[in-house]
């Protein structure tokens, strides 16, 4: 049994973490909430916030740049996360088989996700360069006309997506691979004995068993992807035009370049709300999906 003194110490152990999180996330969250309904002015060394009601929100909803950034972000999230899931699942299934060099492939396949995003962004910027990059040369040899990977307004966003897929498919791979390893081999064996084909085993046994891991992986990746900024910052700076400007980049530009703190905070807060709604919709959707399967 745990003693009384130890019980008191438990609070002591927990308190630094709680206090730091309160100071660096909960308090800042409330501060941002105040900025959203206010007007920020620097007076001397301090900051004054005057209440202005919903003025920032009215401005936000009439701002074309906001709707653009929202659509850019949603598009990147939708395309990148779904392709990352499919690729990650495929790779996990491949490596989960009894292949030689399983360890080697496993390590190699997770490497990109821990690399510095700014360096990764720079790397892909060089690769997508039309004159000096390696892709154009290969395409020309194949007789395909060069593509303005980072200079064409309708293509640039997909170059960002490709970069994101390169870096983050490993995350999906990692979680799905771990989940595959946790499936008892008897389940698959039993299905085989009952005469199920390879596809049936995958569709009826493996995929349902992977559902919780899939949902968790997609949710986590989605949340991270909504915050995308590093690679865009260095690859296109939001351009050409504003065709790749994500929500975080937009909020940064307004809040810290134009130094319009309250409007920048409003943009950031709207990203938080979007993220919250998207996560809730996803969780609800998948819950219904799971209920259907149970019937």
């Amino acid at each position: 049994m745990i003693g009384k003194a130890a019980r008191r110490q438990g609070r002591l152990f927990l308190s630094p973490t709680i206090l730091l999180l309160l100071a660096f996330t909960l308090f800042p969250f409330l501060f941002t909430l105040a900025l959203v309904f206010g007007e920020a002015r620097f007076v001397g060394g301090g900051l004054q916030i005057g209440f202005v009601g919903t003025r920032n929100w009215a401005r936000l909803f009439q701002d074309e740049r906001f709707w653009n950034a929202l659509m850019v972000t949603l598009r990147i999230v939708a395309v990148a996360v779904s392709l990352e899931y499919l690729l990650g699942l495929g790779l996990a299934l491949l490596v989960d088989r009894k292949v030689r060099g399983q360890n080697f492939f496993r390590v190699l396949f997770i490497v990109p996700m821990l690399l510095t995003p700014i360096a990764v962004g720079y790397m892909w910027r060089m690769i997508f360069d039309v004159g000096r990059g390696p892709i154009t040369g290969v395409l020309q040899r194949l007789g395909v006309s060069p593509v303005g990977w980072l200079t064409d307004t309708s293509v640039a966003i997909y170059s960002i997506v490709i970069t994101d897929i390169w870096q983050w498919t490993p995350f999906m791979f990692l979680i799905l691979y771990a989940a595959l390893q946790a499936i008892p081999p008897d389940y698959i064996e039993a299905a085989r004995v009952d005469g199920a084909s390879g596809w049936q085993v995958f569709r009826r046994v493996i995929l349902p068993l992977l559902a919780p891991a899939s949902i968790a992986a997609i949710l986590l990746r989605m949340v991270e992807c909504f915050k995308i900024v590093d690679t865009i910052y260095i690859m296109t700076g939001g351009g050409p035009g504003r065709s790749t400007e994500s929500m975080t980049l937009f909020a940064y530009a307004i809040g810290f370049r134009a130094f319009d703190l309250d409007y920048g905070a409003t943009i950031a807060f709207s990203l938080f709300l979007t993220l919250l709604v998207a996560a809730m919709v996803f969780v609800n959707m998948t819950r219904r999906l799971r209920d259907v399967r149970m019937e």
Partner: protein, 280 residues
């Protein structure tokens, strides 16, 4: 026959994705050993075949540009290692308390507290950075090591608590319980009994937090500019100052991704072991 075709397809696909992973890194590393002309005059692919490699940019990096490069590198090392150390200790303590003591704060029980801590990771950094910027401006923590260390410690805490509570929930408690009966404190059991048992997990948690602090960009961009400049910030600023001097920045970027690659290889078994609870 069909089976052999299947095997060929499996290895073909595995090698294809390996190529996808390696090719961009290959391009980055080889660009750092190209002469200016080999960069500007169209794409050159293979060293010794398409172009003669040169080590001049690497030599420059460690001689002429030593200070400009070394300084941010040291900053990154200091900030990432100290913050990762703090995160690991604080995270382990919180996780230990949460897995051993039953708490009740109002309606919040242990699982609720753990969930609240972990969920803080979902908050987009851009939402909180406005307040942190103002806080740092007032307390003069802008562009300081301490400022970045604090920010990164908190940024990684949810991850550390989550990882450590997974690790700590797995170890048997008989020894600790015997110690508690003898009146030992949590402090004693954690640092004398538990830490030696979970040392590899602590190291793994430390290295994860190190990598995420090492890679972080947005906080560094807003909270520091010159004295506390980190490696990602250096790469970005070089890129915007110098334009297409690919060779230099490729060398810098290669230098930036070396620690994460080393850590990935060192940690390979934890990736699967530590993440299995999420798959259940």
């Amino acid at each position: 026959m069909q089976r052999r075709l299947g095997t060929v397809a499996v290895y073909g696909l595995l090698l294809l994705w390996s190529l996808v992973v390696v090719a961009p890194l290959f391009w980055m590393v080889t660009t750092s050993i190209k002469d200016k002309n080999d960069v500007f005059l169209g794409p050159k692919y293979l060293p010794w075949v398409d172009f003669i490699p040169t080590g001049q940019w690497w030599v420059r990096l460690f001689t002429v540009e030593k200070d400009a490069v070394l300084y941010p590198y040291l900053n990154s090392l200091i900030v990432a290692s100290i913050s990762a150390f703090l995160t690991t200790i604080l995270g382990a303590m919180a996780a230990y308390a949460l897995t051993r003591v039953r708490f009740k704060f109002g309606p919040m029980k242990n699982e609720d507290i753990l969930f609240w801590i972990v969920s803080q990771r979902f908050m987009p950094p851009i939402v909180t950075v406005f307040a942190i910027f103002v806080m740092y401006r007032v307390t003069r923590l802008l562009d300081t090591h301490i400022g970045l260390i604090l920010a990164y410690t908190v940024f990684n805490l949810p991850l550390a608590v989550w990882l450590m509570s997974n690790f700590l929930a797995q170890i048997p408690r008989s020894v600790e319980e015997a110690a508690w009966v003898d009146g030992a404190s949590l402090w004693t059991t954690l640092f004398r009994v538990v830490v030696p048992m979970v040392l590899p997990s602590l190291v793994a948690t430390f290295l994860f937090c190190f990598v995420f602090a090492w890679n972080e960009f947005l906080f560094a961009l807003i909270l520091s500019y010159s004295r506390a400049q980190t490696v990602p910030l250096l790469i970005a600023s070089q890129h915007f100052q110098r334009g297409p001097q690919w060779w230099d920045i490729s060398a810098l970027s290669t230098l930036a991704v070396l620690p994460p690659i080393a850590i990935t290889v060192a940690l390979q078994k934890y990736f699967v072991k530590g993440l299995i609870p999420i798959g259940k």
